[in-house]
């Protein structure tokens, strides 16, 4: 962060993790404020607990709203998941059932959030290592249903789709097929942003650790998603094992180059 400020690097847009800045009058916030002023912002949250079977936390939402107003962000997002219930906190993003009743339940809450915040709100798909036995819809059907019923957008994390595919099939080709099937369920107007990140392959699947370079399949999925859904704002997440800024910027260039190459190929094919 300091290097970004010092070198005055201009980014097209940036995502702020709201939970790190819920107090807007502390040293931590003031230190980052010059960076916040340098480009358009989107606010990303991990604490709304949209899928939890308990009431929404109004004080948390109030803090998010205060931060969103202070930064004048263009969009706000959180995940289709739960993290805590009745005072027990996992500090993680836990899966929900892909079920029509859950679409109704979460869509109502997402709509409340969007109304309260007064800004466009989108819901992100998570990576998961467990699956709910009550799930009778695919991940893509669930996300599409949520967007349709709530009027909110989808923040599509293609790496999460791929990781979920690996954790279901433990095979890269099958994971790619899984992710493409989910993307095919979505309509262009429903997807507002795309996330990409690195993951760690394991002997049984993958861990979504946001601590490595992008896998080639994730880059391919990104290109495919843009081909199917149209051009969307894309965000590279790198939260662990963070390399020097130079390396992160190189990775961004790789993404841009991949998309350019892919667009050229499409043009030639057409």
């Amino acid at each position: 962060m300091d290097e970004l400020i010092e070198r005055d690097i201009q980014l097209p847009w940036m995502e702020v993790l709201a939970d790190n800045f819920l107090c807007v009058d502390n040293l931590h916030f003031y230190r980052a404020e010059p960076l916040f002023a340098s480009c358009p912002l989107s606010l990303h949250c991990i604490g709304m607990n949209l899928g939890a079977m308990e009431p929404l936390d109004e004080s948390y939402l109030q803090s998010v709203k205060q931060l969103a107003d202070r930064l004048d962000v263009q969009q706000i997002s959180d995940h289709a998941c739960f993290h805590s219930l009745e005072g027990a906190h996992s500090h993680d993003l836990l899966p929900v059932a892909y079920h029509p009743d859950n679409i109704r339940y979460i869509a109502e809450r997402a709509d409340c959030v969007q109304t309260f915040l007064g800004r466009p709100f989108c819901v992100e798909n998570i990576s998961t290592y467990l699956f709910h036995r009550q799930s009778i819809l695919s991940e893509g059907q669930f996300l599409a249903g949520l967007a349709e019923l709530s009027g909110c957008g989808i923040l599509l994390d293609v790496n999460n789709l791929y990781v979920n595919g690996l954790n279901a099939h433990n095979d890269e080709d099958a994971a790619l097929d899984y992710a493409l099937q989910q993307i095919a369920e979505l309509k262009s107007e429903q997807v507002w942003q795309i996330h990409i990140a690195g993951h760690q392959r394991t002997r049984w699947g993958a861990i979504d650790h946001h601590g490595a370079a992008l896998h080639k399949d994730v880059l391919y999925l990104l290109a495919e998603a843009i081909r199917l859904l149209g051009k969307k704002p894309v965000l590279l997440e790198w939260d662990n094992n963070i390399p020097p800024l130079r390396r992160v910027l190189e990775e961004l260039n790789t993404v841009e180059q991949t998309l350019t190459d892919f667009a050229c190929l499409q043009g030639e094919a057409l």
Partner: protein, 337 residues
Amino acid sequence: MAESSVKMFVNEERQAQKRLLNAIVSSEYVHRLSSDWCSSKTLAPKRICEFEARGVYRNNYQGALRRSLLHSFPVASRHMPAEAFGVLVNEYLVCSLGNKANIDFFPSDFASFVASKMACMENSWGLPTYLGDLLRLEWAVDCATRGAIQAERRLTPKKLQRLSVSGGILNARFSFNKSLQILKLPEGLIELWRIMKSLSQPVDSVLLSRSPRQVLHSLYPDDYVHEGGPVAHELEQYCSIQIAIGDSGKGAPGSERLALSIDPVHPLLYSVLDSLPHRFSLEQLSVLCEDVLTNSEAVTDAGEFLVSVLSQTAEQKYFCVDADEIEPFRRNTSSDR
């Protein structure tokens, strides 16, 4: 119909969520997941099993809590045997799992937890008796960095002038708590001094001095560590600073000086200073002075004091003092030893 269906779903789902959370955050290892959850519905070979899936979530959970502790106590964790820190963290995790909504506040009881363990830990690990104080201090830094601050309590040059001419502060001695050290006094006071110089009725000296007793202690830090006497009391003395703001030698060449003497501080506390990510501002120092002037010697607990001061201070901009300006003071304090 749809409403009652959702209601039924919610009730069942609530139980499923509770069971999964329990399997992740419970200090007791839950050997089997409830039947609500499965690893994968596919029959792919070597795919993730329930045992591994639960392990990923439990590792993520406990890893996040450990990182939170390391982030909050960088100095203490570096200055004690890794095994000892690991043992303390493990025990704290077992006692505290799942009970903090905001992970940032997970470490809040760690200092008192460690202090309560010191009696049985210090012999086996050779831990310093002041470890509890150090942890409290570091937690205070963490809180001060993240805590909300209020703008109305700034000490302006005008306020400072009023203080300086009141007479009551000339040669006043204030016993500062050790937590004060983290305010990076050298930088703060340089700015304070500059402002004072620009006042219409300047007070040309900001003097911090220490007592001979403190000098003695700074020469024999090991005495403190191994002292069997009233350690807490000694620590207070050891780290206290006396500050005097006055106009002695006004107008005389070279009389405008800033004398700093903050070295009767244990090397561990210097490490805290060095580890700070921020420089603290004039405003913070000023409010601190005001607080001390107002409340005389009413300083007790390091952490509470620091939080009470810093959480009420304002910080709109950051100033940096050139290393050239800081270095002489560091050299001075070193040569005092």
